[in-house]
């Protein structure tokens, strides 16, 4: 029977995946991790790729990886180096840490598709322009609004603010 699914021809030498389980091998308790990696399978009938996850056990002597981290694993070619038959890879490095994603290009921390410094800037601006006048109870509503407007105009004239606002708008580096 001819199958429509063509398995991936890409070798498993280097893979990127997420750690789904941590375990230990033998009496020496060598730490190892089960890494879930995606590999594409081509459907020859639909002419489309469908990704499928496969789990690989990778040895982690330096305890680099933790549960949930995105790691890069490398195949252990020398069979004598493999501690057991099931453990075929080793963790090369941690690409993204779970709960602390850092953009490898810029080196900045990323939270929900925004850089950390952009988020901090927004917080600072809202605090300076909006919240500080609002905390002044003695002012009337119209006075408070006028003060907020004035602070906003001052901030807009500030060069640093304009550049940062432009960068946030364009999502440039």
């Amino acid at each position: 029977m001819r199958r429509a699914i063509q398995e991936s021809a890409v070798k498993t030498d280097v893979l990127l995946g997420r750690v789904v389980k941590m375990s230990q091998i033998g009496i020496d308790r060598i730490p190892c991790a089960q890494v879930r990696c995606q590999r594409n399978e081509f459907n020859t009938y639909l002419k489309m790729y469908f990704s499928r996850s496969f789990d690989y056990w990778a040895i982690d002597r330096g305890q680099l990886g933790n549960l949930g981290d995105t790691v890069m694993i490398r195949n252990i070619d020398d069979l004598s180096q493999r501690p057991t038959a099931a453990v075929t890879h080793k963790i090369d490095r941690v690409v993204f840490q779970y709960g602390n994603v850092i953009d490898p290009v810029t080196g900045k921390r990323v939270i929900n598709d925004d850089f950390m410094d952009d988020i901090e800037l927004k917080k600072k601006l809202v605090h300076d322009v909006l919240e500080t006048p609002a905390e002044q109870e003695s002012l009337l509503f119209a006075e408070r609004r006028a003060l907020q407007r004035q602070l906003l105009e001052n901030a807009q004239k500030d060069d640093d603010f304009r550049e940062a606002a432009k960068a946030i708008e364009n999502k440039t580096l």
């Binding site: 709960g99 602390n100 994603v101 939270i111 929900n112 917080k123 509503f141």
Partner: protein
Amino acid sequence: MNLASKRLIHTTTGLARGRHVYFNKHKMVTDPAKQDPDYFEKMARTLPLDDNYIDQLKKIYDDKIGSERDLTMKASDNLVADKITYGLPQLDLSKPRPPYSYVDSLKDAPESVRKIFSLEFGTRRDVTSEWKRVMIESVNHHTLDNSSLEKKIALCTALIRHWSMIVDEIFAKNHRPRKPSWLTHRIWLVIGQRRRLLRELREINEESFQRVLKELKIAYHVQKQPEHVKTRKAWSEAQLLLRIQEEKEKRLEELHQSYIKEREEKMVEMNERKKELEKEKIDIEQRMKELLILEGKATDNVVGEYHPSLVGNMTETVVHSMLFYHPKPDMVRNN
């Protein structure tokens, strides 16, 4: 396939309508410790291995299965038993209602006018808005933040809690045997939504996640995989196996430690004996040397070490052995 026959403890009526059947749906959980998904397994692990072990396991299993239903909702919140405040923040009821919070003339108005426009005399909607506002402001990034995960989680938490309060009020008032399912179902959906948001926040920002849990007093547990042990017998066997393994490991560890300790003590004794024997050996060698000197077979006060000319000696020895097979005569006096 007859599913009912596979499930020994559940009845068929619920299955027919496609609902999950609970063992004891009226059992209420009040102990916050039971929120831990592994609570009952941990309890089973502490049981002593005596004649009552199996009966104790049965009690734990009945408690576990009975608490399932209540825990599906209650385990999501750290306020399992709080029926007074429902985890909602305390409000200052003398503050103006939200629509009038920015009105300047109220500041100078007489006390009676301010009272009319206060939260105390407001609608239920004003109170819930205020609860939501307080909870959101405790965790959001800034005043204008409307899209962050923290804000959404706080809003979900406020909804869950004040809706739970309404459910109890309706239930107490109408004296019906059932809670209003139109509201309990919405609470269940929002609990699920909040779990998803919390999971997403945990993936992105671990510190913010911990802060949100602490501020809003939410309990977050990683959901367990569905158990492959479906009957009490299978569960009890699994617990017993784990318990035995634990006991075995514990005793092996104790034995290992005792061996290490024994070895340390023995090593000390052996080293001392070794030192004594070495000292004895040195004494004996000294005495033998003295005897040889007395007999004239050795000399004392020898300075330096004698190195015979091996090459020359070896050549002579080889020549002799090749020619005559006689050993070369040595110059030591015969005994």
